[in-house]
């Protein structure tokens, strides 16, 4: 088991999801893709820890989450 937090860690989970989706309201696919790419980079830098990042990448890349 790694260091990646997979238990609930976001306060106001519904609020966060609403804010994330609102960021994409009215955007084209290309704009949204660009925003998502920037968001991933910003969050990745905030995390910093290479082991956590690798684990997150692996987790995101799994075809089925099991």
């Amino acid at each position: 088991m790694g260091k990646l937090k997979t238990d609930a860690n976001i306060d106001d989970a519904d609020g966060f999801m609403a804010e994330l989706l609102a960021l994409h309201d009215g955007r084209s696919k290309a704009e949204s893709d660009a925003i998502n790419a920037r968001l991933i980079l910003i969050l990745a830098n905030h995390i910093g820890d290479r082991a956590v990042l690798s684990e997150a990448l692996r987790t995101a890349g799994m075809a089925r989450d099991d």
Binding site: N36, L41, N45
Partner: protein, 535 residues
């Protein structure tokens, strides 16, 4: 274009070898009189090893080709007696600027540290450098050193035996044979020696084509490396600008995939593209134009019995990062002292195997870096482009993203970490000069450290007393003793917090072992390891 490309620099001349009844045997034959082959020959001749260079041509290479020479290459050229000629002519630079679209995103300084004899990079046309190297060959020959270049000597066949190589050589006056105890193949990316030995050259090819143009113009671009992602004059692609001597600028323009190289290389076509970049008012003339696609690949082994491969013959990278010619110089820097010791019987042939280990390690590092740069510059999917553009978008204002921008990780010498020749380390001493690392230059209060080290094994003693010289089985170690307070930059780079230090340094100026106190037995043991006699 000037007469330099038309005048034979080492014209064909008949060698007595061509009239010998039996093939004449030479200790070392170098195939290829490009920068890497010439550097190998000079290095060997300076150490008294007789060397013959064969080249199928008799002139400098056409066009400016390699232009970016790293500090490590300049340090090596100093040891080979060509550093001042190169530095006197070349354009020094250490600042790079990165643009995205029509905005300048950020700039970087490659050597933000003073106290080095040579700059981070020097731009110089390959033909100028080859001319200086040939001049040096001539000077050594005039001093009676055993070195010669044979122009228009084309190797047509190879017989590989256990302890020598037999070459069949074509000349304007017909073929002859000669033997080499060791053959160094420096005959470039399309190496015919590699083909004749049946060795594979495996790796990746990139699909994007690039236009490489040398342009003569009066323009006030500073001596900096400018890299554009998605510039207005080459939408969706990249561009690179470098300044060379003689008012020549190197321009690389990414053309994309599936282009017609014969169409793109036409002068009117190239001029139209450059007009977009340079503006309607800039006057310029084309000096040299070429279309490239890039490969990142290497041979499985660089040592194949008595045939040793160096430079592009052994490994090839994309140009972002200037890791081609620069790594070739480091190859022969690594090889020649080892060959000398093996030829003298002072070290076992196993020492040559360490060339394979260390330079394959370095080639892998160069290939990794060049591949990553090429992938950043030429994104292979919409998503990779989205991430690339996101990095560039953020880099203008967010510092963290600047480290993710990859327009080329510029050549720095490999540190042979855990290399087979490394001896003991003392981690009280600064990491940058740990065993396996090239010794870092520093002022000594009386000249530059690397100049004072020169070639040969050295015991660098700082702030402590050691014997002036030492010999172990025919290998001499000469001491360079410096005071701990000779220069604060020397102390910072070699002592750190320690009061004294002893470094064993190889003839290629890489650190072999180091201690915070002198112990003769330990130095002798490390010397045996550094010459392939350990363990």
């Amino acid at each position: 274009m000037t007469a330099i490309f038309e005048t034979p620099l080492y014209p064909y001349a008949r060698s007595p070898d061509q009239d010998a009844l039996d093939p004449v045997r030479h200790p070392v034959v170098v195939v290829g009189a490009g920068p890497v082959g010439l550097a190998a020959a000079i290095d060997l001749a300076q150490q008294g090893v007789p060397v013959v260079v064969l080249d199928d041509n008799d002139k400098v290479s056409f066009g400016s080709r390699a232009i970016c020479f790293s500090k490590r290459t300049l340090d090596i050229l100093d040891r080979l007696g060509c550093g001042d000629a190169a530095a006197g002519k070349g354009v020094q630079w250490d600042t790079g600027k990165v643009f995205f679209g029509d905005r300048r995103v950020f700039e970087f300084n490659l050597l933000p540290e003073e106290g080095h004899k040579r700059p981070a990079f020097l731009n110089l046309q390959q033909y100028h450098l080859e001319t200086y190297l040939v001049d040096r060959v001539r000077a050594l020959a005039a001093e009676g050193r055993p070195i010669e270049i044979r122009g228009r000597n084309h190797v047509s066949a190879l017989g590989v035996y256990e302890d020598f190589v037999r070459l069949e050589v074509d000349t304007p006056e017909g073929p002859y044979n000669l033997d080499a105890q060791w053959l160094i193949a420096c005959d470039g990316a399309n190496s015919s020696i590699r083909r004749m030995t049946g060795q594979d050259f495996i790796g990746r090819a990139f699909e994007d084509s690039f236009l490489i143009a040398d342009v003569a113009m009066e323009a006030d671009f500073p001596s900096e490396r400018w890299f554009w992602f998605d510039p207005p004059f080459n939408r969706g692609r990249s561009a690179l600008l470098h300044k060379q001597p003689d008012g020549i600028f190197r321009i690389d323009l990414q053309l994309g995939r599936g282009i017609d190289p014969e169409e793109e290389v036409k002068p009117e076509r190239v001029t139209a593209r450059l007009r977009q970049m340079l503006g309607a008012r800039t006057r310029f003339a084309l000096d040299w134009v070429s279309i490239y696609t890039f490969q990142c690949r290497r041979m499985d082994r660089f040592v194949n019995g008595r045939v040793i491969f160096a430079g592009d013959a052994a490994h090839q990278v994309s140009p972002f990062g200037a890791r081609g010619a620069n790594s070739g110089f480091q190859d022969v820097d690594n090889l020649c002292w080892k060959l000398k010791l093996v030829l003298d019987g002072a070290a076992p042939p196993a020492l040559i195997e360490s060339y394979n280990w260390e330079r394959v390690f370095a080639a892998d590092e160069n290939i990794l870096n060049s591949t990553r740069s090429t992938e950043f510059i030429t994104p292979k999917s919409e998503t990779s482009r989205a991430f690339r553009d996101a990095v560039l978008h953020l880099a203008e204002r967010r510092k963290f993203a600047r480290r993710l921008v990859n327009s080329g990780r510029l050549s720095t010498p490999s540190v042979y970490e855990d290399g087979p020749l490394n001896g003991p380390d003392d981690d009280a001493l600064p990491l940058r000069n740990a065993p396996g690392a090239p010794a870092c230059d520093a002022p000594t209060g009386d000249g530059w450290l690397l100049d004072r080290l020169g070639g040969g094994f050295r015991l660098l003693a700082i702030g402590t007393e050691v014997p002036e010289r030492l010999e172990e089985d025919g290998i001499e170690v000469v001491t360079l003793a410096l005071r701990a307070d000779a220069d604060p930059r020397l102390a910072k780079r070699y002592l750190g917090g320690a009061a004294q230090a002893v470094y064993l340094i190889r003839p290629d100026q890489h650190v072999a072992a180091r201690w915070t106190g002198y112990d003769e037995d330990a130095v002798r043991a490390a010397l045996r390891v550094a010459t392939g006699q350990g363990g």
